[in-house]
C-alpha cells in the first residue's frame, strides 16, 4: 500500500473530473452540463497545480471558468433552453455514439498501453512560474505570439460580420 499523498490526490481529482465530465454528457439540462463542465475545469486546474503549472492553473480558471463558461451560460440563458427544450436523440444513434466513443477509448488505450516513458518525480520544478514562462513566451515564442494577433483580428472581424444586423 505505497500510495503516497500525491497519488491519493491524483486519484480523487481524476475520479471527480471523470464523473463531472460524464455529467456534462449525460445531464438532461444544459445548465447542469455547464455547471458540471465548470467543476471539471476546477479539477483540471488542480491537476495543473500538482504538475507545478501554477500560472496555467490560474489562467485556466480565469479564462475558462471565468470567461468562456460565463459566455456559454449567457447564451443558454438567452435561448432559455431547459431540460424540456433539449430534444431527445433517437436512441440507437445515442448508443452508437456511446459505443463508438468507447471503441475509440479502447483502441487508444490499447495503442498507448505499452508506451515506455520516464515517470514523474515528486519534487517540483520552476518551469511553471510566471517569470520563466514570460521569458520563454517573449523570447522563443514571440513569433506565434504575434501571429496569434492575426487570429484574433479575424475572429473579431468574424464576430462583427456574423453578429451585426443586416439592413
Amino acid at each position: 500500500m505505497g500510495m503516497n499523498l500525491q497519488q491519493v490526490v491524483f486519484g480523487v481529482l481524476s475520479i471527480i473530473s471523470l464523473i463531472t465530465a460524464l455529467g456534462v454528457v449525460f445531464s438532461k439540462s444544459p445548465v447542469t452540463s455547464v455547471l458540471c463542465l465548470i467543476l471539471t475545469f476546477f479539477t483540471i486546474a488542480g491537476h495543473y497545480v500538482m504538475l507545478n503549472a501554477q500560472f496555467l492553473a490560474v489562467v485556466h480558471i480565469i479564462v475558462y471558468a471565468g470567461a468562456i463558461m460565463v459566455l456559454f451560460l449567457f447564451v443558454i440563458m438567452l435561448m432559455n433552453l431547459n431540460a424540456e427544450g433539449e430534444p431527445q436523440k433517437r436512441n440507437w444513434l445515442k448508443y452508437a455514439g456511446a459505443i463508438s466513443g468507447g471503441a475509440l477509448l479502447v483502441v487508444l488505450l490499447a495503442a498507448l498501453r505499452e508506451a515506455s516513458l520516464p515517470s514523474l518525480t515528486p519534487e517540483s520544478n520552476n518551469i511553471g512560474l510566471i517569470a520563466n514562462l514570460g521569458q520563454t513566451l517573449f523570447k522563443t515564442y514571440v513569433v506565434p505570439f504575434e501571429v496569434s494577433s492575426i487570429l484574433f483580428l479575424s475572429a473579431m472581424v468574424g464576430a462583427v460580420v456574423i453578429g451585426k444586423k443586416e439592413h
Binding site: 455514439g97 463508438s100 466513443g101 475509440l104 483502441v107 495503442a111
Partner: protein, 633 residues
Amino acid sequence: MINLVWLVPLLPLLGFLVNGLGRRYLSKSLAGIVGSGAILAAFVISLLMFLEVRTPGFQAVTVQLFDFISAGSLHIPFAFQVDQLSTLFLLIITGVGALIHIYSTSYMHDETSEGFARYFAYLNLFVFSMLILVLGANYVMMFIGWEGVGLCSYLLIGFWYKNTNYNNAAKKAFIMNRIGDLGFLLGMFLMIVHFGSVNYSEVLPQIAGVAKGDGTLAAIAMLFFVGAMGKSAQVPLYTWLPDAMAGPTPVSALIHAATMVTAGIYMIARSNILYTLAPCVQNVVAIIGLVTAVLAASIALKQDDIKKVLAYSTVSQLGYMFLALGVGAYTTAVFHVMTHAFFKALLFLGSGSVIHAMGGEQDIRKMGGLKKSMPITNATFLIGCLAISGIPGLSGFFSKDEILSHTFAANKLLYVVGLLTALMTAFYMFRLYYMTFCGQFRGTHEQEHHLHESPGAMTFPLFVLAILSVIGGYVGLPAVFGAPNLLEHYLHPVFAAGAEKVELPEVAHSTEWLLMALSSVLVIITIFLARSWYRNFTDDGEPRTGIAKVLENKWYVDEIYDAIIVKPLGMLSRFFEEAIERSGIDRLVNGVGRGVQWSSQQVRLLQSGQVGFYIFAMVIGMVVLFVIGFLLR
C-alpha cells in the same frame, strides 16, 4: 514473235477498256467489232506463236514485264511463260473465244447498245483473265487469272442484274470459287514456306528433286486440287455450274464449257510433276473425278432444261478429265479438254440458237421437231451429240477412249464405271437431241410460226465448231492406229519430267482394240435405245416418281448444302449478333456504366445532412484505421 506475247492479253484488255469506258457512246456494231476484233487479233498472234512453239526442241520462254511483289526474300515477277501447254490453251481460248464473240454479236442483238457494249466488255475482260491464267509464269499470276475469271463469270452470270435469281446464281458461283481459292492460296503459302518461290521455273525443278510420296508435296497437291474442285466444278463444289446457266448462252459456251472450267485441269497439268510424286492425291483426283462424272451424268438423265442437261454433261466431262489426270494421263486430259471445248461449245451454241428461235424457251418438253425449221442447227447439234457420245471417227471418240484405256490400265473397276458414264452420256445427249429436234412440235402456236433458222453470224461458228468436232480428234490418234500421236509428241516437253519418274502403264494393242469395239457397240446400242424412247416423245405431264424424281431434283444436293452449311451459318451469325454482341459484350460494357450510376446512387445516401452521423462516421473511420494501423503492423 514470242516476245510479243504480252500483246495477246493486252488486246482483249484494250477491247475491255474501249467497250467499258465507251459503252454509252459506242454503237452496237462498233462494240461488236471491237470486241470480236480484239480476240481475233489475239488468236492470230497466238497462231503465229504456235508455229514457233511447235518446232521440235523449243524450250519454254519466260517474258518478264515487271516486278509484281517483292517482300523480303519473296520475289514474284509479273511474267509470262510461253511453252507448249500454254500455247495450246491460248489457241483454244482465243479460237473458240473468237467464234463465240462472233456468235454473240447477233445472239445479244436485242440488248440495248449500252448493255451490248457492257456484255462485250465483260467478255473481253474474261478472255484477258483467262489468258493471264494460262500465260502466267508463276502460281500467283495463275491465281490472278484464276480470280479474274471468277469475277467475270460473276459479272456475266448476273448480266441481267434485275433478276434476283440470276444474281444469286452469280453470287453462288463466286463464293464457291472462293472456297476453292482459299485452298489454292494455302497451297501457295505452303509452297512459299518450303520452296521459297512460286515461279514454275524455280519450283517445279525443286519438286522434281523431292522423293516420291513426300508429305509436303501431298499437302500442296491436295490443296491445289481443292482449288481445282472449285474452279472446275468437281464434287463437292460443283453445284454452282448448273446454276451458272443463268447467264447468256454464249457465256455458258465460252466460260462454263470451253475455257474457264478447264482451268483446274490446266493447273494440274501444269504442276503434273507434283501430282506424279504424290500418288495418294492422284488417286483422290481420279476418284473425285469419276464420282463427279457419274453423279452429273445421272442427274443429266432427267433434266428438262436444255442448258441444264448440257451443264451437267459438262460437269461429267470435267470429271472425265480429272479421271484422266488421276491416272496420270495428262496428255489425254489436255486432249479431252481440247475436243470437249469444240463439241461442248458447239452444243451450247446450238442450244443457244434453239433458244433464240424458241424465243427464250429452254424446256425441251415444249420443243420437238425443230429439225424441219432449223436444219443447220440440227445438223451441227447432231454432230456435237455424236462427238460427245464417242462415235468412232469423231473427236470425242479418240479422247474418251484414250481416257478409258488408260483407266483400264490403271484400275479395272474405275474403267467399268467410266464406261457406264460414257453410256449414260450417250443416252442423255440423244434424249436431248430427239426431244428437241425430232417428233412433233410441242410448244405454243406463236412460237411455232416464229421458228426460224438463226442468222449467219450464229450459224458460221456452228459450222466451224462442227468441223473441228469432227476432225479435232486426229491430232491425238492413239498409238494403236500406228499414226504418230501429234499432240503427245507436241506436249512431251511439258510432261517429260514426270514421265521419266513414273512409267505410265500401257495396255496391249489387242485389248485396246477390244475396248474400243466394246464401248462403241454399247454406245450405239444406247443411242438406239434413246431413239426408240424419245424420238416421238409426248409430254404426259405427270410428275416423276422414285429414282427419277431424285434425279430430277439433282439428288437434293442443293437442299442438303442449304441445310448443313447455309442455314447453320445464318444461325451462327444471328447468334453472334444477338447473343454475344448485343446481350453479351455490349450489355457488359453498358452494365459497367450502369453499375457506376447505381453505386453512385447508393453512396450518395451516406450524405444524410446530419452532423451527428458525419462525426459518427468519422469516429468509426478513425477506429477502423487505428485498428489497421496498429494491429496490422
